[in-house]
Amino acid sequence: MSQFLQIMLSGLATGSIYALVAIGFTLIWQSAQTVNFAQGEFVMVPAFLVLVGMNFLGMPLWIAIVFALLVSIVLLGYVFKKLVVEPILPSGGISLIIATMALGIFLKESVKEFYGAEAQPFPPLFPTDPIHILGAVVSLQDIINLAIALGIVVLLTLFLNRTRTGRCMQAAAQNPAVAEILGVNVKRMILYAFLINAALAAVASFLITPVYLAKFSNGEVLGLIAFIAAIVGGFNQIRGALVGGLLIGVLDNLTATYVTAEYRAALPLVLLIGIILIRPQGIMGTPEGRAV
């Protein structure tokens, strides 16, 4: 029993991190109708910015965090949008997929080349003291991660659906031509989405790196799982990312424990295929509507 509880709680803790990254996917989808395959690297980079701040610029941890957040927003939000998304978006989804993949390699290799290939320790932002619940152990950090993921989902959903700017962002994504003739500043809307995404990625980065350790290759698996989480949960709903993330986190641990560790990596994938075949719009997603 305590093992089961432990597995569930650990799963939720990891799942909330997947969710944080997955939210970025759904956000970008809802506001730019594209997919950022470098998302995993977007989560990897801010941690290194913190390390640069601390180890080379001599900043204390919290200052370094703020510094990294700002630099991430500029670099992974503004510069990314200007230099990669804007020129390539018009030539279609697949080109952008490839471009973001290339960007992923670019970021990964740059970090490796300029900071080093080895994993680096990263200080926890919140106390890691264990909290015992019925024989299972979680840390305060885990609980904070979960709370943050939840909070962001609620805030972003409200922002996108309840504010005019949010709706303009959606319009700009779903039908940029129409948005433009109605006077919506399409480019700016897309920029907002990318800025928010960068900020989210940075937050996710600060929260997980103490556990995952800072390493140039961290993004590979994380980006993949987060994307799967987004699809499983439902790509066109922010809350889908949360559900998908938590689900994968928990199921992953359950499979590893009770079914098979060797095929553990297959589980999210099987889940993905299953969901897509049964409910293509994802668990929380809504169908895209009328085709004819």
Partner: protein, 351 residues
């Protein structure tokens, strides 16, 4: 000048190992060249990045040979070495590798030489520790499911069977896995009295962190990596108490000087792969000069059954012997992490 091909995992998952190997080799080459090179010829290394992709590594070994490499240094990941060692053999080029998987020396390839003990030798070195020192009856195993991990795992299971210790939990994980909650909790509930951890460095660190979090109190025992400098750096306090059987560690007095040199040159602690790279380079020099000319056939012939004592060949760091298969014999160490640094608790003779 004499050309050497450094074929290593400079990018991809193996980058930490590969870059350390390369840096260790570079350091050695700088020293060798400062001493006048090998047989008076400067050593010139060309680096080839395998991207941790075995097929690329195979192509690159071919390329290095096409470009006239006298010897190949690398690769480190067993998965790559198994693939590319054939090419070096077909071309008759000696190759030093940093890999531990048992099959590498079991295929009758006369050109391959390890720089560290294979798992089939290293892991049995630990068995007495389980039977005598710990005196346990039930153990758990946590290992990474790649060529390296599988090699060690298979040997360990066999060993435990031989000495009659029951393996109550046998848990594999993926290379690059970040979340060890499930692995640790299964081990915790398995009733194991000690846990054998056989993973690459980062995985080891993450495992230790999670084990600490879930309050595992039984001994965690590893081989090769568990007490590596890098693991300690990453796992912090969580590494304290971990015990490992290692062939190479800067905690050993013979190797401490190398650690300082490396640190001075690169500004960081070396991991064991750096030591391996360094040894590969110096062995190439020593043996070539022993042969007296750049003759690859004579080189491998000399290597087989050769012993280099450290007092005559100081930069080989520890007395070392290669047998007919290219496997090494060398003294090794039991190391425990105490207060954040590895401490040698026992010195095992070469076997």
């Amino acid at each position: 000048a004499v050309r050497i091909g450094v074929v290593a995992e400079l990018s991809g998952a193996g980058a930490p190992s590969g870059t350390n190997w390369r840096d260790g080799a570079r350091l050695a080459v700088e020293e060798i060249n400062a001493e006048g090179g090998i047989l008076g010829r400067m050593v010139e290394i060309t680096e080839y990045d395998t991207q941790t992709d075995p097929q690329v590594s195979r192509a690159l070994v071919q390329k290095a040979i096409d470009e006239g490499a006298f010897a190949i240094w690398g690769t480190i990941y067993s998965g790559s070495t198994i693939v590319n060692m054939l090419v070096a053999m077909q071309n008759g080029v000696p190759q030093f590798v940093g890999s531990e998987a048992p099959p590498i020396v079991q295929q009758g390839n006369p050109y391959i030489f390890r720089t560290s003990m294979g798992a089939q030798k290293g892991v049995p070195g630990l068995t007495p520790y389980f039977t005598d020192t710990l005196g346990v009856e039930k153990v758990g195993v946590a290992w990474t499911n790649n060529e390296f991990g599988k090699g060690g795992h298979d040997v360990f299971i066999q060993e435990m069977e031989n000495v009659g210790i029951e393996v109550v939990a046998d848990i594999s994980s993926e290379q690059g896995q970040a979340d060890f909650a499930s692995d640790v909790s299964q081990l915790r509930d398995s009733g194991a009295e000690a846990i054998f951890v056989y993973m690459n460095q980062e995985e080891s660190a993450r495992f230790l962190i999670e084990a600490r979090k879930q309050g595992i109190s039984v001994p965690l025992v590893g081989e090769v990596t568990l007490n590596d400098q890098k693991v300690i750096e990453l796992a912090g306090d969580a590494a304290n108490g971990a015990i490992a059987h290692v062939g190479l560690t800067t905690a050993a007095p013979e190797i401490a000087a190398f650690g300082e040199k490396f640190n001075e040159r690169y500004g960081r602690e070396p991991i064991q792969d750096a030591i391996k790279g360094y040894i590969a380079a110096w062995a190439t020099k020593y043996v070539t000069e022993m042969v007296g000319e750049f003759d690859q056939e004579a080189f491998v012939e000399t290597m087989h059954g050769l012993c280099l004592p450290a007092d005559q060949y100081p930069n080989i760091l520890l007395d070392i012997c290669w047998d007919e298969t290219g496997e090494v014999s060398r003294p090794s160490f039991m190391v425990e992490v105490q207060d954040g640094s590895p401490v040698v608790i026992e010195r095992l003779p070469a076997n």
